[in-house]
Amino acid sequence: MSEAAIRLGWWLSSEEHGPRDLVAHAMLAEGAGFGTAMISDHLQPWATAQGHAGHAWTTIGAIAVVTDRLEVGTGVTAMVHRAHPITVAHAAATAAILLEDRFFLGVGTGERLNEQPYGARWPRPGERRRRLADAIDVVRRIWSGGTVNVDRGSWKVERYRLYERPATPPPIHVAASGRRTAQLAGTAGDGMIAVAPDPTLVDVFHAAGGRGPTIGQLHICLADTSDRAEEVAWHHWPNGAVAPALLSELAEPTEFEAATQHLAREAITSTVVCATGPAPVIRAIDRFVAAGYDTVYLHQIGPDQQRLADVAASELLPHYRS
């Protein structure tokens, strides 16, 4: 019996790279042989050292024009205050048309970092989960055509009809950080996205009826020496050392810096694979796969994106094609 292939994806970090670079990286990824890419949807960077936060949807439009085969999705779009489900349904429908069905919508319960500037109260996780569940429902209704009226739950839609609609609505993948979001991914999503090789999330996703891709995000930093890799990762991705419970709760880049100022540089190696070659990356990907994930997005931290393209083309992608 043939086995379902493992898919490797390219992570486009819009906190670390300007929009023109991201478009170039998408071309680089496609050229290296990646079949899929995910772009982070941020209003501001986690840390000031990252220095970027372009508008993801606009960037996706540009990527659509310069790529032919690469699937592109958001990783992830939150619907709390910043984005209303009408806005997301509208943008995602246009993206799906531009990408000719190479688009997926990644959604999550959000981070305060990307919502607080709107001046509204930052809801607790349970309320954000309900808002997300309601938002997914609204997005799907808008995509299905016809005039939509919603006057219950977290969102209001008053006689809206989506005119620019793809023939096939794009899949919605839901970011899961715990059992409850994994359940939501299983009941409302077409796939699940996780940031750690946690097998329980996969089990909960499937038990809730979830089918479709089980996606992991893996942070790596490939450099000439492991010392250099750690240094780059620590400088460009200090949020990788922030406790998960805080990641969604801090409101400004300076607060992320405050949360990490007393940590030693080595703290970054708990969530980032710092390496000089493919072997540790392969081992980390294998752990995601053995824990139930069929797709793993590689986030190469720092400016040296060419290095990931080279290592992937010569080592990583062939390794999983066996």
Partner: protein, 261 residues
């Protein structure tokens, strides 16, 4: 530091005794270590695996719990001998060299410790006290008798599943039939050291299982009632769980849809 009885447990037991002072007070006033026994009792503390061997060899088994508890569930061949109602006349005719196995509820229960001391004081020379009591026995998935019986325990509802060896590779996993459940990674004697999900079948065949497995898949004990298991699975949002004995050996896979509760 000398104890009232003048006898202390041998070091092979726990090496500790609780001393109580004053009749109306029940709190512990001192913990006295007794590392060197001068006059060891004839009580041997045995674990559940050894207890099973003794029972298979025909040892006389005494249940120190209340009779109603014994009726509900007891170890195979166990006679009811509640400490509360202990009467030396009941053991009068027993040969003092008869090996005896005494047990109570669990590691917090002292009924069997006290019953075995009583038997020891009466001159029995081969008293065995089951460490961890009936709970240690059932946690190994060993059978019991009584009105409650074993028929609603999860050990009766598990399905057998294929396993892969700790020193094996993805090639071994691929040799098993396809399943939607994780596959346990086990030692030669079936101790579950990890698990791999079906997606792992797509890894290169030479990949070593020990390098990629999830190190601690969730497990439950075989004596759990199926209603408890179903409630726990539903609470956790899961539809399956590995069942292992308390020593880590695989009993099987419990699947929510197969628990007809």
């Amino acid at each position: 530091m000398v104890q009232a009885s003048g006898r202390v447990p041998p070091p092979a037991t726990q090496g500790w005794r609780l001393r109580r002072e004053g009749t109306p007070r029940t709190e512990v006033t001192a913990i006295v270590a007794c590392p060197n026994a001068e006059e060891p009792t004839m009580i041997t503390r045995v674990d559940a695996i050894e207890a099973r061997r003794l029972i298979d060899a025909g040892i006389t088994v005494l249940d120190a719990l209340p009779a109603a508890t014994w009726r509900q569930e007891h170890l195979p061949t166990a006679a009811s001998m509640p400490l509360q109602e202990f009467d030396p006349a009941r053991v009068e005719k027993l040969d003092r060299t008869t090996p005896l196995l005494v047990y109570c509820f669990d590691q917090h229960c002292d009924l069997s410790a006290r019953l075995s001391r009583r038997l020891d004081e009466l001159g029995f020379e081969a008293v065995h006290d089951l460490i961890g009591g009936r709970a240690a026995w059932t946690a190994l998935g060993l059978p019991t008798e009584g009105t409650v019986g074993d028929n609603r325990r999860i050990s009766q509802y598990v399905r057998e599943i294929g396993t892969v060896g700790l020193h094996g590779t993805i090639k071994d996993l691929r040799a098993l039939p396809q399943t939607r459940f994780p596959t346990p990674v086990v030692t030669d004697d079936a101790v579950v050291l990890g698990a791999v999900h079906p997606t792992a079948r797509a890894l290169p065949p030479s990949t070593r299982l020990a390098d990629v497995m999830t190190p601690a898949p969730g497990t439950i004990r075989p004596e759990m009632r199926i209603e408890e298991v179903a409630a726990q699975l539903e609470r956790d949002g899961l539809d399956h769980v590995f069942v292992t004995a308390v020593n880590g050996t695989l009993v099987g896979l419990a699947v929510l849809a197969e628990l007809h509760v």
